[in-house]
Symmetry: C5
Amino acid sequence: MTRFFRRVQKKLALPPGTVEYAGEKKVEKVTISVINYDEIHFEEKELASAEECFPYKDTKHVSWINVNGLHETKVLEELGDHFGLHPLILEDIVNTHQRPKMEDHQKYIYIVLKMLHHDVDKNLVTAEQVSIVLGFNYVLSFQERPGDLFEPVRERIRKAKVRIRKMGADYLAYALIDAIVDNYFVILEKFGEQVESLEEGLVDNPAPSQLEQIHQVKREMIFLRKSIWPLREVISSLERGETKLIRKGMGVFLRDVYDHTIQVIDAVESFRDVTSGMQDLYLSSISNKMNEVMKVLTIIATIFIPITFVAGIYGMNFEFMPELKWRWSYPIVWAIIAGVFFGMLTYFRRKRWI
Amino acid sequence: MTRFFRRVQKKLALPPGTVEYAGEKKVEKVTISVINYDEIHFEEKELASAEECFPYKDTKHVSWINVNGLHETKVLEELGDHFGLHPLILEDIVNTHQRPKMEDHQKYIYIVLKMLHHDVDKNLVTAEQVSIVLGFNYVLSFQERPGDLFEPVRERIRKAKVRIRKMGADYLAYALIDAIVDNYFVILEKFGEQVESLEEGLVDNPAPSQLEQIHQVKREMIFLRKSIWPLREVISSLERGETKLIRKGMGVFLRDVYDHTIQVIDAVESFRDVTSGMQDLYLSSISNKMNEVMKVLTIIATIFIPITFVAGIYGMNFEFMPELKWRWSYPIVWAIIAGVFFGMLTYFRRKRWI
Amino acid sequence: MTRFFRRVQKKLALPPGTVEYAGEKKVEKVTISVINYDEIHFEEKELASAEECFPYKDTKHVSWINVNGLHETKVLEELGDHFGLHPLILEDIVNTHQRPKMEDHQKYIYIVLKMLHHDVDKNLVTAEQVSIVLGFNYVLSFQERPGDLFEPVRERIRKAKVRIRKMGADYLAYALIDAIVDNYFVILEKFGEQVESLEEGLVDNPAPSQLEQIHQVKREMIFLRKSIWPLREVISSLERGETKLIRKGMGVFLRDVYDHTIQVIDAVESFRDVTSGMQDLYLSSISNKMNEVMKVLTIIATIFIPITFVAGIYGMNFEFMPELKWRWSYPIVWAIIAGVFFGMLTYFRRKRWI
Amino acid sequence: MTRFFRRVQKKLALPPGTVEYAGEKKVEKVTISVINYDEIHFEEKELASAEECFPYKDTKHVSWINVNGLHETKVLEELGDHFGLHPLILEDIVNTHQRPKMEDHQKYIYIVLKMLHHDVDKNLVTAEQVSIVLGFNYVLSFQERPGDLFEPVRERIRKAKVRIRKMGADYLAYALIDAIVDNYFVILEKFGEQVESLEEGLVDNPAPSQLEQIHQVKREMIFLRKSIWPLREVISSLERGETKLIRKGMGVFLRDVYDHTIQVIDAVESFRDVTSGMQDLYLSSISNKMNEVMKVLTIIATIFIPITFVAGIYGMNFEFMPELKWRWSYPIVWAIIAGVFFGMLTYFRRKRWI
Amino acid sequence: MTRFFRRVQKKLALPPGTVEYAGEKKVEKVTISVINYDEIHFEEKELASAEECFPYKDTKHVSWINVNGLHETKVLEELGDHFGLHPLILEDIVNTHQRPKMEDHQKYIYIVLKMLHHDVDKNLVTAEQVSIVLGFNYVLSFQERPGDLFEPVRERIRKAKVRIRKMGADYLAYALIDAIVDNYFVILEKFGEQVESLEEGLVDNPAPSQLEQIHQVKREMIFLRKSIWPLREVISSLERGETKLIRKGMGVFLRDVYDHTIQVIDAVESFRDVTSGMQDLYLSSISNKMNEVMKVLTIIATIFIPITFVAGIYGMNFEFMPELKWRWSYPIVWAIIAGVFFGMLTYFRRKRWI
């Protein structure tokens, strides 16, 4: 359940706006990288300290400053000071259990997203918070640890003569969001395969392990839903946004990523519906099985218990049991037994039990 | 589950706006056909290449260019260039897992729809994406493979003096949408018959195969819902649309197809409710059956187990068992057995088990 | 399921606006009757053909033209021509699987309603489509077959000095809608009685037939809901309507029939909730019964099986069984049996099984 | 179910606006009482006829005319005539199955409320309709029978120097509504106690009677919800109301009673959720019990059936059974029996059945 | 259920606006403390009577007057008189079963919140009402008993040079709300741990106690939801608020606490979904277990009952049973027994029961 929310308890005594990292320390050292580019110019380097990226705030080119690791408060505070970020935003960046949201602070837009990872071993989806600050000609991105999701974007920038090199910081922010949303499809696809393989043999051979897996998929869908659902509103308000930071021409791109988000949400809802249906099916199959087991038991018991009784009767040792001495007793008993046997069979056939 | 969403994974490394077909290759060769008509004029031909249809962009008549097969990127890009389509739209046309949507790009309207097929063998509904681009006096339609749904529309155009020959490109687009929506009714009708035949004998003779079929109908309804639901908004925004591409007089036609869409959605929702009810009924019937089986078992066992015990007692071989030598022991034992037998029967009758 | 939607398949090849009756032919001959009235004037007659009613379009009085039977396309097309109805409206009139709706066509208002019948034998509710066209001083009503729901309205018109004689065509249309909505209460009342009698004995004596009846009520409620729900919006838009065809003073009457519609919808929702509760109760009762049956079986079996074993032991024929010759063996065996018996009873009592 | 809605069938043939009482006759005679007051003046009397209250329509003081009993059409029609009530309102007053609603008729406001009674014997909630007509300086209230809910309001008016004596007719109407809403809390409190006592022992000792009670609470909650939910909108529109009949200063009082209504609705919803949870718990407990019963049966049967078989074998009377003559056969059989016995016990312990 | 709502019954006879404490008396004596501060000035003291805090209404500094204990009507009425609170607000302060709400009374804003406590012993969440009155430069807070939630806020004020000392009364009110909302996270965290430990072993070893705990968590979530949900709207209307009492700069802080509230609500909803899933899982596990138990019983019974019958046959004492004297009878019987035994085993293996 810790994935569903967590807020560090010690925080409680601190005033609002305190910058203290809420997650586990996932990287040893905070690393900062910068890419500075326009249609012609391209520069990429790793920075040793926060101060080194200050010059990139006001260049003629687009600057993308990416911070991996959030546990060094000082680095973040220096960055925040220089880029004029509100203390509460710094708090949100490090407090990694935010809901996806978008805040328009006039001079910059602050966007929180969830980057999802599918832990194959535990079959768990874990979320990592990504904060994006979009300024006039710079983008700051904050990740809990170095990830490879942004690598394709970097690759595209490194190439000359691609669209991204001709566009501004707003397109860069869009490209980052698009990379994160595209990754949701990868995760859903894995679940899709899992659900598909679960569905087979659910009726014929229901096993408790399947049930547990269905439950797990359902729980992960609750988690995915919680992580992705608010994104819809985030992108929708970016699209509608009256901010000057996002140029007119971005509308068609934002609508595209919006459509993808809706597709993801739709798929999550469909998964929920389908898995609910599968759970019902599982339960019904168990009931069916039980019914079948019961029938076998009942058929055997109701045939043999009465005829065993008949045999029991003539196993008694009374001295005065005239039948014991009759010549045809034994065949008659067999006839009775056969009568019970076939009578029962007829009864069961009529009840459609066999 | 692949029907519920699929986005090619390799796509992830590509920049937005890349045109690469997302589906399976369903036809060998991309074919392009054009119909150029107005009240008097009529011309229909198959085209060998994309270039051949360029002249049809600006004729005085209405041009309907239909493309079957989406895997030849070059053809689409040439068409897109000539008709001035945005790269993201080309991406949407080939990425065949879009949600139904409508985008107004001033000079043309882009509409995505789902054409549904009912695969009788697997009892599966599959969706094929149809893209419609409505320009001032042309309509482009893109299908994954040649289908017969648009044939009736073609038939109508071929006849002289019908309404469609007197109307513009907007009416043609409406006619295509109407053909697709009408097809939904055919699919629903098949499900309707299936549900109806399922409902019979559900109480008297519940079988696991019925359950599986109910589950299947439910799952198909989730799929149908997902494919059709957004259409409502699509048509509603066409109707409200402030675009000049759709003339005033189209309102009544669009409202008509809107009503049909609502009818389909209503029917899908009703199917969901009815099948849910049937599943409950199935489960209850299984419970009933099990209860009945249990009663038979219990009646037989509780009558015969005690009297078999009585017989067992006098089957013991102790030397000192005075009853064994009594004259009336045997009849008395029978009397006891009869007592237990009829006592039990009375008990069960009072409990209303028999 | 055919009640839930049906659209004739052959229709599919026809262009929109084709007038072809979608239902079964319910009357032999189409009959047309007209009532022409105002405060003083009153005239009522059966018409032989569509032409005969043309003069009634523009009289100084209110004209109510009622058509029973929709299968004669020619009659409808003549009427439609004369009264200036849009071809799509004619299509809607004969295509009897419309959702209730209201369309404002400036010169007239087109209203579709569902008239419900409760088929007592099959315990099914069937819907018949009623189309009402309200013009400036005429009302056209189209029914699939002659019904007695409009008879009370006719009766009221026949009387002099009643409100309806003083009011216009809009009041007449309202009176027809009101008659249809009032009839919903009659149907609900029948279901109410059925539900009430079902509820009795559901816990004490649950029977599969009850379950089937509950399922039926639920299914009928899905149908009722589907037929009535859209009516709410219909009447609401009539009330708000900016049309001149409905006079100001009608507001209070329309609000009244709106309230009744809400009452019906409320009742349908309550029925759904109550029957859902009853189904849960039924299932729980079955579980209870099964549990009780199980207990009886278990008590009998667990008491007698062990003691039968004891008897079985001393029924063995070994030569060297010292107990067989002991003097007190037999009483001791009885003591053991009694011990098991009463021990078990105590155990069950502690478990509160008996 | 008759509580959920009822509309007298004979009504159907009557035109809208007919005044005929829809309920059972709950009092012998219609009684009318009037209280006429302002800060100084106070007058209270029982009236013999409708005419006697006519003078109270236009006094300088506030007049509260309360009518108990709705079956005397004439009395209501006289009142309606004098106070200028619309015929449809008179119909609503006597047709006691209205939904709570508020209608602003310029010169007066018509409010319908449900006064709830908890019938302790049957554990049923019954609703009685109260109609309130608020005019400029008078309030008419119509009850089906004399109730004691309004008595506290009367008591307050009788005292001098209380707020109600200083306020107008609008405050009086508010006080009546407040008295009715306060009564809802009393009813909920009774259900609260019932639910609380039901919850105890639900897991340890589930009994069918508890289930029936849970079902009853759920059904009553459906009824309460239906009766109270629309009240929210009623009071909300009174608060927003642009009528001059309600003075500005009333806002804070109406908001207060609105808050109470929301509290009641909240509580009803919580009850529904809690009782649903209890029903699930009940069913689970039954399943648990059944499982436990099954285990006992299975343990006893699977231990004793095999060893009884062993005993049965050596109860056979074949001449050639060498074991019968062996010296150690009997102890060996006992050893086998002990082996089966303890083997089974170990098996069950491993399965955690015992 | 008393937590879900309670309104003292005796209240019913009292007029609206009566100040009478609705809860249990939780402290012996009402205590009043005041903190008066601005950036430089700081003063904190305990007051002996309500009069002593009157001077703090109009100081140049911010005054925070905190009242612990609500049972002394006189104290509250004196405060209410001096600070100009509406009688209905005093009623709401002492009537501690309000829904969270916010009322703007021009000169002050009245806010009701729920402070939650997690009673570890009973595993119950209890709610305590906190009322906050925000005036121009004062904040009144009313608690049912002294709590430690506000202590961190006090601590912060006591320090010089912190943000809170530089801000106005609106920031103080925000800090109090923030402290209460932060506390919700602590409570949710405890539930999170409980749910997490419940989830383990639910499939392998389902126990009734787990079910009861799941039910408890669900019930507490219903309670939490009821207590927290309305807070969303409260803070949202504070944020939007057009009041002058809340300065522009507060927007970002209020949005922050709003986000936290949404997070809490999200978590509560997720908990509800997850626990529902767990309950389903529990039930399914029980079904699985039962099915397994049934299989064991059926296997044992269907194997041994027929062969016991065979043994019973040859335990009969008829004189004329030829088999008894045959040489190979006994081995043949054993062969039959072995045949039944292995036949059954094969059958069960084919059915995949073993």
